[in-house]
Symmetry: C2
Subunit: 138 residues, 2 copies
């Protein structure tokens, strides 16, 4: 991905993978993306970072459960400020798969979902690519 794909190079900085992981560890809402027969879908979710993987918790009857079983998926977080016209984004590309309960981390490292509901299914997105960009103020 060339630096000018989203932002002009003069005000763009790549975010190193380590800092991408720090940003992922510091937030709790992101967006998961999958593709169905009509194209890509982007939905907000609570998540946690487990080592370098993304954990989300869903209902087994949800559209996310249906589309994130051994499937390509992305996970994205960002933050922008309208006043300074600056911000950053992190994109995790990888593979989503169901998680056996035995493979879940301790409670505190699991996602804390804001919404109630029977979210008994955990899904892990294992990255093959983590990238980030920062747009500085002009």
């Amino acid at each position: 991905m060339s630096p000018d794909e989203r932002w002009f190079p003069s005000h763009l900085r790549e975010i190193a993978p380590d800092e991408c992981l720090e940003l992922l560890a510091a937030h709790e809402v992101g967006r998961v993306a999958y593709s169905d027969e009509r194209g890509p879908v982007v939905l907000p979710v609570n998540y946690s970072l487990d080592r370098d993987t993304i954990l989300i918790q869903v209902s087994p009857h949800s559209v996310l459960a249906r589309h994130l079983d051994a499937a390509p998926a992305s996970f994205q977080i960002d933050d922008f400020d309208d006043y300074s016209q600056s911000g950053w984004s992190v994109l995790v590309r990888g593979q989503a798969s169901y998680v056996d309960t035995a493979d879940l981390p301790d409670d505190q490292a699991r996602p804390h979902t804001w919404a109630e509901g029977q979210r008994t299914l955990h899904i892990r997105i294992t990255p093959h690519d983590i990238s980030g960009r920062r747009l500085l103020s002009a």
Copy 2:
């Protein structure tokens, strides 16, 4: 899409299409999603709302130009508050296509991009589905 896919029904409200368009008209940064051979990709962009379509402006040599030429695409905006654990999201699913200069709206209705650069190509996402959800505080 059933109401419990993202949030538990008790705190979830559907956002009517008219209000989705109002939210889209009131913001200037969103996320465009496309699919390539490795799965979905989500990238932040400035945009404008032109009637019920999304306009973005890109470099003709960018990855977005390459993947948004007569292709399925989505556009997403959201806003969440960590403290009240509430927020909303709007998802536009549609078809992306290049825009002839003659079909562009007046300057003020075109996207205003924060980043500099030779963004001579406009892309329009024409929706076939606009949906939104609001998560109320518990």
